[in-house]
């Protein structure tokens, strides 16, 4: 594992809680989200969606819709068969056969989930466009539907795609089956559990949408989109879907109102808008309603798992066997199979040294909305699995769950560490016991256990739950992810430009959706040149602005994108020193560049400021012989390994015996994300992440009936946590830098979500232990807990 050089300037801004540069516009109503964009002559698109989970389309009559005043055009799937290719899946599971059926942007003869698009209307305003949808009549022949992934695999199940026998997209395995079977057979103790990691709806507060504008003069298609990765969308739309030359497509992500994974993927509406903009000769805008977002935008999780964990009587884990069936929904979304194989499949052993592991995973099509990455993406499914099993083992052996964890942690000296036979790149660094100890100390673990005993004696149901996690972040390197099935690179790009007046404009290839990159990245760049935070502007989200970039997912923006900014800046630092030395008439070896000045070593006062050098580079007349003018540099950072943040969360709950209502009394989180650029921002990421993990543990579930109707189909029915549903989060951190990037940072976007659900569920199960209850599937609503208590 190559080790990148550390940043060379003493940090001044890095490591401090600078207030965000984004906020002034966002707190005054001046942020410009997609739906806030108004182009001259813009028309509005609405999409008719299937009310059936599975049906044949015999006929679509659009005549009444076309006749409605204000309607400009109506298209159906048949209109697009020749013009638009199916949407690609960019991340099939690596090393196995994937059955990927075509996913048309509007269904042609068959719909496969409630929400599948069948027609699109362009009208003068959105109200008219939605009126017109009511006037389209579709002759459907309903077909039997299947929503459960296990049932979908069974003989005789309704069949979605000719290309996918038994509705199976892929069957993927890792590890040594025979050795694991043998270890389980000869084990002193085995705990087994059937787990459902339920389906969730990501719920960014801004729904998705797209605006397309076609310029017949230049032939350029510009698409504004609610996107976490406009460069990726550009190449997929240009090269695979629309067949427009890549240099004639420009994608722009304006202010993006959250995404949590759901805005990574290529969606039908992006292509529909592009086609319609050209067809009607006007810019067109599509924005989802929330109900549409609930069916037409991807969901997350939905794994059914059978797990066996073997150990010796002293609590040493000896083997882990997993069979997981992932529901992918009706089509393979952009990243769906690879999330199951790489991000779930290779991470199932968590923080523990387990000699024998075997994991097999299926991805299965059902008549439901597509499932793809949602905050954590595979790692929550892996972490919940192993952390529940470790608690079940501790209960079986009547050992303290903290001790079972400590006993099995991968020790610090074993890093870099490759989990047995899982085929993963090595875990970079870890001090798992340190984070556990700090969490236990912070929560007052020994006292808590004593108080719990007293409370139990009084008949109260109090539980303490632990979750020790490790996750894979900083997703890269390109050669590894391509072996894993990902169809592109995973480096990140940066372009840094020093202007004539000493101001800096830096373009990143990643594209934030609320994390504050304009601030944290400016902190990094400003420190590289010794300038102030307000002297640096970070640009992002426009494919016309800078080099190709990959985007924000897998907690990779800082570790990979931030590092690219360091590298581009480092190139300029060398040039700045050379220009400074030239102006000072000394050799470059005799100067140093610190605190915004190039100074002659040992000669106080003999110096040139950063601004003076920037001006010289712009003037171009006083440069070292042969040197080009201007200060601009591009870097592409492709790290040698991923990063592996870790930590321990502790949750304390009390259950109301009469109602089953769980109340979180304490929530302590100790996370190790390596070096922290802006502690305030990182804590904010952890807060929000934990909130989503608690949401999964206690409140949220996407629920279908047997006919494939989404019962939790609106915000009135799906329980996004409110302010009254969440506790105060008590945070702390340990710092174990990574050697795989120059910042030493690992990434923090998903840690909270990954850690929280098992911590909360383990706490509830600990509370219920005196009643002999071992497991309840999430979400642990009062009703489910009450039902378990009532037996």
């Amino acid at each position: 594992m190559a080790i990148a050089e550390p940043p060379r300037m003493a940090p001044k801004l890095v490591g401090t809680s600078i207030k965000r540069k984004e906020d002034p516009r966002l707190i005054t109503g001046n942020g410009q989200y997609l739906d806030d964009i108004k182009l001259p002559g813009m028309a509005h698109v609405a999409i008719l969606r299937s009310p059936h989970a599975h049906a044949r389309i015999h006929h679509i009559d659009t005549s009444a819709a076309r006749a409605l005043p204000g309607v400009i055009d109506v298209i159906t799937g048949a209109d697009l068969v020749d013009a638009v290719n199916p949407l690609p899946c960019a991340f099939p599971a690596g090393g196995v056969e994937n059955h990927i059926p075509p996913h048309r942007v509007l269904a042609v003869d068959r719909v496969r989930y409630v929400g599948d698009g069948v027609a699109a209307v362009v009208a003068e305003d959105p109200y008219i466009a939605h009126d017109a949808l009511e006037l389209i009549t579709v002759d459907y022949e309903p077909l039997p539907a299947v929503v459960d992934q296990e049932k979908a695999m069974a003989d005789g199940a309704p069949h979605l795609h000719d290309e996918a026998p038994h509705n199976i997209c892929m069957h993927w395995t890792a590890g040594d089956r025979a050795a694991t079977d043998a270890a389980l057979k000869s084990a002193e103790v085995v705990v087994r559990q059937h787990l459902h990691n339920q389906r969730l709806i990501p719920n960014p507060m801004e729904t998705r949408g797209a605006i397309a504008r076609y310029d017949p003069g230049t032939g350029e298609m510009t698409i504004w989109m609610t996107s976490q990765c406009p460069h990726v969308h550009k190449i997929l739309l240009a090269a695979f879907v629309l067949g427009i030359p890549e240099h004639k497509v420009r994608c722009i992500a304006p202010e993006v109102g959250g995404g949590f994974g759901s805005k990574i993927f290529v969606y039908p509406d992006m292509a529909i808008c592009a086609v319609l903009a050209k067809r009607v000769g006007r810019p067109v805008k599509f924005v989802e309603t929330r109900r549409e977002n609930y069916t037409a935008t991807t969901h997350g999780r939905d794994h059914i798992q059978d797990v066996e964990l073997a150990a010796t009587r002293d609590g040493t884990i000896t083997a882990l066997r997993v069979r997981s069936i992932a529901n992918l929904g009706a089509y393979a979304s952009t990243g769906a199979p690879g999330v199951v194989s790489t991000l779930f499949g290779r991470m199932v052993s968590g923080c523990y040294k387990i000699p024998h592991i075997f994991n097999e995973a299926y991805g299965v099509y059902t008549n439901t909305s597509m499932v793809d990455a949602y905050r954590g993406a595979g790692r929550p499914e892996a972490t919940y699995l192993i952390e529940r099993m470790v608690d079940l083992l501790a209960a079986e052996l009547q050992m303290d769950p903290a001790e079972v964890r400590r006993k099995n942690f991968i020790p610090p000296e074993d890093f870099p560490y490759e989990p047995s036979g899982l085929g993963l790149v090595p875990y970079d660094t870890g001090e798992y016991a340190g984070a556990l100890d700090l969490a236990l100390q912070k929560v007052g673990y020994a006292d808590l256990r004593r108080q719990q005993q007293q409370a139990r004696a009084q008949g109260r149901l109090i539980g303490v739950g632990l979750s020790s996690y490790v996750e894979i972040c900083g997703l890269a390197p390109s050669d590894w992810v391509q072996k894993e099935g990902w169809g592109g690179p995973l480096y990140e790009s940066a372009h840094v430009r020093v202007l004539a007046t000493g101001k800096v404009v830096a373009t990143t290839g990643t594209s934030p959706h609320g994390q504050g990159h304009e601030t944290t990245f400016a902190q990094i760049v400003a420190d590289q040149f010794g300038v102030g935070i307000d002297d640096v502007e970070i640009l992002h989200g426009d494919t016309a602005q800078g080099p190709f970039g990959l985007g924000t997912y897998g907690s990779r923006s800082l570790a990979v994108g931030g590092s690219a900014l360091v590298q581009a800046s480092a190139k300029l630092r060398e040039k700045i020193k050379a220009i400074g030395a030239h102006l000072l008439e000394v050799a470059v070896e005799d100067v140093e560049f610190e605190n915004g000045v190039v100074a002659v070593k040992g000669a106080p006062g003999r110096q040139k400021t950063f601004a003076e050098i920037a001006m010289a580079a712009w003037l171009g007349s006083s440069l070292p012989p042969g040197m080009e003018g201007l200060l601009e540099a591009t870097a592409v950072f492709d790290p040698p390994d991923c990063t592996f943040p870790f930590g321990t969360h502790v949750c304390v709950v009390e259950i109301d015996r009469e109602t089953g209502q769980p109340t979180i009394l304490r929530y302590v989180a100790v996370d190790d994300v390596g070096h922290v650029i802006n502690p305030m921002v990182v804590d904010g990421q952890l807060h929000g992440g934990i909130a989503q993990g608690i949401g999964q543990a206690l409140y949220e579930a996407a629920v279908y009936d047997d006919n494939g109707q989404l019962l939790s189909g609106s915000m009135a029915d799906y329980a996004v946590p409110k302010a009254t549903d969440l506790p105060v989060f008590e945070l702390d951190r340990t710092v174990t830098p990574t050697p795989v990037n120059p910042l030493g940072s690992k990434g923090a976007g998903e840690a909270g979500t990954i850690a929280a659900a098992p911590a909360v569920v383990n706490a509830v199960m600990d509370a219920l232990a005196p009643l002999g209850i071992k497991h309840i599937d999430m979400p642990l609503t009062a009703q489910r807990i009450w039902a378990a208590i009532s037996g």
């Binding site: 202010e255 949590f260 929330r290 994390q515 996004v720």
Partner: protein
């Protein structure tokens, strides 16, 4: 149908369809896009504005029902280039990430502080439970509202607070 109302101190008169929602009127007719739409069932509160001194979800009101009303949106909260203490509080305490819920959240908090100038943490959480945020976990939003409440009770910012209140 004709609707006349005052938004951020400016009188507006338009002919609108009877079915036009106030939020669409504010965004699409008047062009103030700081008021956001996050759902279609009045759950999320992203569209919260102050109408006649009360925080309301502008997606639950027809534009016509607001005839004659005085409305404050996020664009009207800062005065003379000075941020309202709630805006400062959200900035200071990292009370926002993606910012989409923020205008509605700030105005819901504004309505809360009108009724309860020094709310407890519990009162704040109850006061904003009609507004959803998916990014922050609410902890820093609560801190931001507490920060603002303290400043609105004392000194220069107290006068600012009353000034805003008295305009309705």
């Amino acid at each position: 149908m004709k609707v006349s109302l005052t938004i951020n101190g400016v009188e507006r008169t338009h002919d609108v369809e009877p079915r036009l929602l106030l939020v669409n009127y504010i965004r699409d007719v008047v062009g103030l896009t700081g008021t956001h739409i996050g759902c279609d069932t009045s759950q999320c509160g992203a569209c919260t504005v102050i109408m006649n001194g009360l925080a309301v979800k502008s997606c639950t009101i027809l534009a016509m029902q607001a005839d004659g009303a005085e409305i404050l949106t996020i664009e009207g909260l800062a005065r003379n280039g000075k941020l309202h203490p709630l805006q400062e509080g959200f900035w200071e305490k990292h009370g926002l990430q993606c910012g989409f819920c923020t205008p509605g959240m700030i105005l819901a908090a504004y309505g809360l502080l009108e009724r309860h100038p020094r709310p407890s943490e519990e009162e704040i959480r109850h006061g904003i439970e009609g507004n959803l945020c998916r990014c922050t976990g609410y902890q820093n939003i609560v801190a931001a509202i507490q920060w603002a409440a303290e400043r609105m009770e004392t000194g220069e910012e107290a006068r600012f607070g009353r000034l805003v209140t008295s305009s309705h």
